[in-house]
C-alpha cells in the first residue's frame, strides 16, 4: 500500500513537470471570477463578460455603439410591437444540439424567472416562432430599446436545459442560493467551452471546435482565468509575466505599465457616471437651484479626472456619455469658483452651511479620494462637509436610508441608453412604479418624468434622441446632481496581444476575437 502511494506521488510529480501544451493560451487575471455559470442568474459586468465568452447574443455592440449581427443575421421592425429576427443557420451548441428559433423563445421565457433580468424583460411577451430560423419578438408596449435588450439575449440550449437533473430538480431552474443545474453546467454557442471551474480559484475555457464564427480572427485556444482581488498583486502578476492580461488596472499603476517594455496599457472610455446627489428633503438649502448650481460650479471635476484619476476618466456635465442618444455636446463641465461664490451670495448663504455626506470606499475607482476632494472643494464656498465613507457591503443599505445630505452614486445604464439614468436616478421617487429607485436627492420634476416615460415608448429614434437631450438639458439647468466623470475601463496586456480591437465602452472584451501574435 505504502509503495503504491509513493509511486503515485512520484508519477504525479513527473506529470506536473510536463509543460502544458497548446498553441495560444491566454492567462487572464480579473478582480473576480464569474459568480455562476448560469448567464441569467445575475446581471453584472463580470457575468456579462463571461456570457460573451461562452454564449452569443442575438446582436452585440460594436466599438462605435452600433449593433453587430451575431446569432441574428438581420432584423426588421414589422410593427410598433414586433421586431422580426432572422437567425443564423449553421450554429451548434457546445452539447452538439443545433441552434433554432425554439432556443431563442426558451431563453426569452426563462428571463421571466430571473430575479435580475425580470425587470429588463418585463415588457416582453411570448415570442412567435415563424419557422426554425425566424422569430418575432414582441412587447406589450412600443419599445424603443428592443435591440439594446437583444444584446442580453444569450441563446441557451433549450434541449440541454430541459428535464430534471440528478437531484430531481428541473434543469431550467434559475435560483440565487443553493443548487441549480445551470449554475454548474453550460451549453452555449460561444467561442469557448468551460472545461474546468473551481469557484474563486480558477476557471479554464477551451475553444469550441464547431464555433460558427469562422471569420473571427481570434486564435486563442485556451483561456485560464484566475481571480486576483488585490490590485497590487494583479499588477505584479502581469509585470512578472505570470499572466498575460489583467483588468482592471488601478490608476496609481498606469505609469508603471506604460513604462514597462513588455506590457501595454489600454484604456477605453466607459459609460459609468460618478455623481453626488443633493438631498432636497433633508436639507432645505438644497431646494434652492442657486445653491445646487453653486455646488456644481465649485467642483473642479476636470481637475479630479486629471489628478485623482490620472487622466483615465472623462469629465462630465451630464448623465450619458458621448455616443448615447441623449448626449448633448453643449453640456460641458462647469467649474467656476467665482460664479459659485456669487450664486451662494445671491441665495443669501455666503456664510455657507454644514452638510453631511456618505460615500463608498471600495465600489468605484478612487471613490474615497473623490469624495474627499469634493468636500475640500465645497469648503471654498463655505459649505462644511462632514464626510463618512464605508465599504460597499454596508453602503447600499445606508444609501437607501438616506442618512446624509450628500450621497455618492455611480451608475451604468445596462441598456447603454440615456433614458435608463433618468429612470433610476432623476425621476420622482415612487415606490410602486420603482421609478427613481436610486434618487436619494429627491429631485422631482414632473416634466422630466413625462419626457422619460414618453421616450420609453417612442420608436422613432431621431425623435427619441431629441427628447432625451431635452431631459439632459433640464437636469443641467436644474443642477439636479453633481456630475464628476465617466470612468474609463483599463486593461494591461503583454505586447503580443492585439487588445485594441476587442475592447469597448461596455467593458466586455470580446476574447473570442483576440489575436495573439
Amino acid at each position: 500500500m505504502k509503495k503504491i502511494v509513493v509511486w503515485s506521488v512520484v508519477l504525479l510529480m513527473a506529470l506536473s513537470f510536463s509543460a502544458t501544451a497548446g498553441a495560444k493560451t491566454l492567462k487572464l487575471a480579473l478582480d473576480a471570477d464569474p459568480k455562476t455559470m448560469d448567464p441569467q442568474e445575475q446581471l453584472s459586468g463580470g457575468m456579462l463578460q463571461y456570457s460573451h465568452l461562452v454564449f452569443d447574443p442575438l446582436v452585440r455592440w460594436t466599438q462605435d455603439l452600433k449593433f453587430e449581427p451575431r446569432l441574428a443575421t438581420k432584423w426588421e421592425r414589422i410593427d410598433e410591437l414586433t421586431v422580426r429576427f432572422y437567425l443564423r443557420k449553421d450554429v451548434k451548441f457546445h452539447s452538439g444540439n443545433p441552434f433554432t428559433a425554439k432556443d431563442v423563445a426558451f431563453t426569452l421565457n426563462r428571463f421571466k424567472n430571473s430575479v435580475d433580468f425580470k425587470a429588463i424583460f418585463e415588457l416582453f411577451v411570448e415570442p412567435k416562432i415563424i419557422d426554425d430560423y425566424t422569430i418575432d419578438i414582441k412587447t406589450k408596449k412600443p419599445y424603443a430599446l428592443l435591440l439594446n435588450t437583444a444584446t442580453y439575449i444569450f441563446a441557451l440550449d433549450s434541449k440541454f436545459y430541459t428535464g430534471t437533473d440528478e437531484k430531481g430538480k428541473p434543469k431550467n431552474a434559475c435560483v440565487k442560493v443553493g443548487h441549480s443545474f445551470a449554475k454548474t453546467n453550460e451549453s452555449g454557442t460561444g467561442a469557448f467551452k468551460v472545461t474546468f471551474r473551481e469557484h474563486g480559484v480558477k476557471m479554464i475555457f477551451e475553444r469550441f471546435a464547431d464555433y460558427w464564427d469562422k471569420k473571427s480572427p481570434g486564435n486563442v485556444s485556451k483561456i485560464i482565468l484566475t481571480p486576483i482581488k488585490e490590485n497590487a498583486t494583479r499588477v505584479a502578476a502581469l509585470l512578472s509575466g505570470d499572466v498575460d492580461f489583467i483588468t482592471p488596472v488601478p490608476p496609481q499603476d498606469f505609469d508603471r505599465l506604460e513604462k514597462d517594455a513588455k506590457v501595454n496599457l489600454h484604456t477605453y472610455s466607459g459609460g459609468r457616471i460618478i455623481t453626488v446627489q443633493m438631498n432636497q428633503k433633508r436639507k432645505k438649502e438644497l431646494q434652492d437651484v442657486r445653491v445646487r448650481q453653486a455646488i456644481v460650479h465649485a467642483v473642479n471635476n476636470v481637475g479630479i479626472a486629471e489628478k485623482i484619476m490620472k487622466g483615465t476618466a472623462t469629465p462630465a456635465g451630464q448623465q450619458g456619455p458621448k455616443g448615447y442618444a441623449g448626449y448633448k455636446e453643449s453640456l460641458k463641465p462647469r467649474y467656476d469658483l467665482e460664479k459659485a461664490k456669487k450664486l451662494m451670495k445671491e441665495a443669501g448663504l455666503e456664510k455657507g452651511f454644514e452638510a453631511t455626506m456618505i460615500a463608498p470606499n471600495n465600489r468605484y475607482v478612487n471613490d474615497e479620494k473623490i469624495a474627499e476632494a469634493f468636500a475640500a472643494m465645497l469648503s471654498k464656498i463655505n459649505i462644511k462637509v462632514n464626510l463618512k465613507t464605508m465599504p460597499k457591503a454596508q453602503y447600499w443599505d445606508e444609501f437607501d436610508k438616506q442618512p446624509a445630505d450628500l450621497q455618492m452614486i455611480g451608475w451604468h445604464s445596462d441598456t447603454e441608453d440615456s433614458g435608463n439614468f433618468t429612470e433610476f436616478l432623476a425621476m420622482c421617487p415612487n415606490k410602486e412604479t420603482g421609478h427613481g429607485q436610486y434618487n436619494s436627492g429627491n429631485y422631482c420634476n414632473k416634466k422630466v418624468d413625462e419626457l422619460t416615460l414618453s421616450a420609453q415608448t417612442e420608436t422613432d429614434l431621431a425623435k427619441r434622441a431629441s427628447i432625451l437631450q431635452e431631459i439632459e438639458q433640464i437636469l443641467y439647468d436644474d443642477a439636479a446632481f453633481v456630475p464628476f466623470h465617466w470612468q474609463n475601463h483599463s486593461y494591461g496586456a503583454k505586447k503580443n496581444l492585439d487588445v485594441a480591437p476587442i475592447i469597448n465602452t461596455m467593458n466586455f472584451p470580446y476574447f473570442g476575437d483576440l489575436v495573439v501574435k
Binding site: 504525479l12 451608475w411 433610476f424 429607485q437
Partner: protein, 324 residues
C-alpha cells in the same frame, strides 16, 4: 483529575456558545448579503422576497436558535457566494492554510534555533549584533508590506519566483497539496517567508534571552567547573532547558500565525481560509463568516483544552489552582 477534565470541557462548551453568539451578532452589522447577490436594478420588493426566503427577516432569537439547532447536527448553513455548505468550503480551503502555516513554522524553527543559540553563546560577535538589529526591524514591519516588497523584488524585478497563487497542486485523497510539485513549492517560498517574518525575530530573541539566562545558572557553572566539554554544556545542559518555555510559547504563537494568514493570503492570492474570510467579509457572505468563526473558535478551544488537560497531568499545581 476527572472533575478537572469535566470542568474544562464544560468551560469549552460555554466558550463555543459565546463564540457562536458573537459571530451571529456581528453578522447582522456587516452588510446585507442579498445586495451582493442581485444586480442594482432589482426592486426593493424582489430583494425583500429573497430575504424572506433566506430567513433573514426573522427575529434575531429565531435565527440564532435555528442556527444552533442546525449546528448541533453539523450543518453550519450554505455559503451565499459559493453555493455550497460552508463546512465544505472551509474544508476545501483548509489544506492551503495548513500547508502555509506548516511551512512557516518549519522556517521559524530551522532558522530561529541555530541563530538564537549562536547569538546567546557569542553575544558580542558581529553576526549576533546584525541579527539583533535586523530582528528589531523585522518585528516592526507589517506583514503585508513585507509581502508586497517580496513580490516586487523576486517576482517583478528578478523574475525568480512566481508572484501569486498556489501553483500546481496534487490531490491526495481529497487534500489539495502543493508540497509535491516543484511549481507548488516555488509558489510556497515567498508567502511562507513573508509570514515567518513576523514571528521569526520574536523567536530568535526569545531563544537568545532564554539561553543566556540558562547559561548564567548554577548548574551550568558547576558543569564548567566539572570540566565538561563545551559542546556538551551548550547542547545538552543549556539547550535542553532553554527549549521548555520556547515550546510553550510556540504553541500559543502558532494560533496567532493563523490570524496573520488573513493578510498574507490576501496579498499573495493564496486560496486558503484567511483569504476566504476576507472575501466573505467583503461580499457580506454572512453564513460563511459565522461558520468560519465557529470552526476557528472550535479549533482554538479544542487545542487549548487538550493542552490544559495535558498540563494537568504534568503539573498538579494547575489542577489545584482555582478549586480552593
Amino acid at each position: 483529575m476527572f472533575a478537572f477534565i469535566v470542568r474544562r470541557i464544560i468551560q469549552a462548551i460555554v466558550v463555543m456558545m459565546i463564540v457562536g453568539l458573537i459571530g451571529f451578532a456581528v453578522k447582522n452589522n456587516i452588510g446585507d448579503p442579498v445586495r451582493d447577490m442581485v444586480g442594482e436594478r432589482v426592486s426593493v420588493a424582489e430583494r425583500e422576497a429573497l430575504r424572506d426566503k433566506l430567513g433573514l427577516n426573522d427575529p434575531f432569537v429565531t435565527q440564532y436558535f435555528r442556527f444552533l439547532k442546525n449546528a448541533l447536527k453539523g450543518d453550519l448553513g450554505i455559503s451565499y457566494f459559493h453555493n455550497k455548505p460552508t463546512i465544505e468550503v472551509i474544508a476545501a480551503k483548509a489544506p492551503a492554510t495548513l500547508e502555509l502555516v506548516f511551512a512557516t513554522a518549519l522556517i521559524i524553527l530551522l532558522v530561529s534555533l541555530p541563530v538564537g543559540v549562536y547569538s546567546a553563546i557569542f553575544p558580542k560577535s558581529w553576526f549576533s549584533r546584525i541579527t539583533m538589529g535586523l530582528s528589531t526591524i523585522g518585528v516592526s514591519v507589517p506583514v503585508f508590506l513585507t509581502a508586497i516588497v517580496f513580490i516586487y523584488i523576486f517576482g517583478v524585478e528578478l523574475h525568480w519566483l512566481p508572484s501569486y497563487g498556489r501553483g500546481e497542486t496534487v490531490d491526495i485523497y481529497g487534500w489539495e497539496s502543493g508540497f509535491f510539485t516543484i511549481d507548488g513549492l516555488l509558489h510556497l517560498i515567498l508567502p511562507s517567508i513573508a509570514l515567518s517574518s513576523i514571528m521569526l525575530p520574536l523567536f530568535i530573541r526569545l531563544i537568545r534571552s532564554e539561553m543566556m539566562e540558562v547559561l548564567e545558572t548554577e548548574y551550568i557553572k558547576f558543569a564548567w567547573a566539572k570540566g565538561l566539554h563545551r559542546k556538551r554544556i551548550y547542547m545538552v545542559h543549556a539547550f535542553k532547558n532553554t527549549l521548555l518555555p520556547v515550546v510553550t510559547v510556540f504553541g500559543v504563537e502558532i494560533g496567532i500565525l493563523f490570524a496573520f494568514t488573513i493578510l498574507t493570503e490576501t496579498v499573495f492570492q493564496w486560496q486558503g481560509m484567511g483569504f476566504m474570510f476576507l472575501e466573505a467579509v467583503e461580499r457580506s457572505d454572512t453564513a460563511l463568516l459565522v461558520a468560519y468563526l465557529v470552526v476557528v473558535g472550535a479549533i482554538f478551544v479544542v487545542v487549548n483544552t487538550v493542552v490544559d488537560i495535558i498540563y494537568g497531568f504534568i503539573n498538579p499545581m494547575v489542577r489545584i489552582a482555582g478549586t480552593k
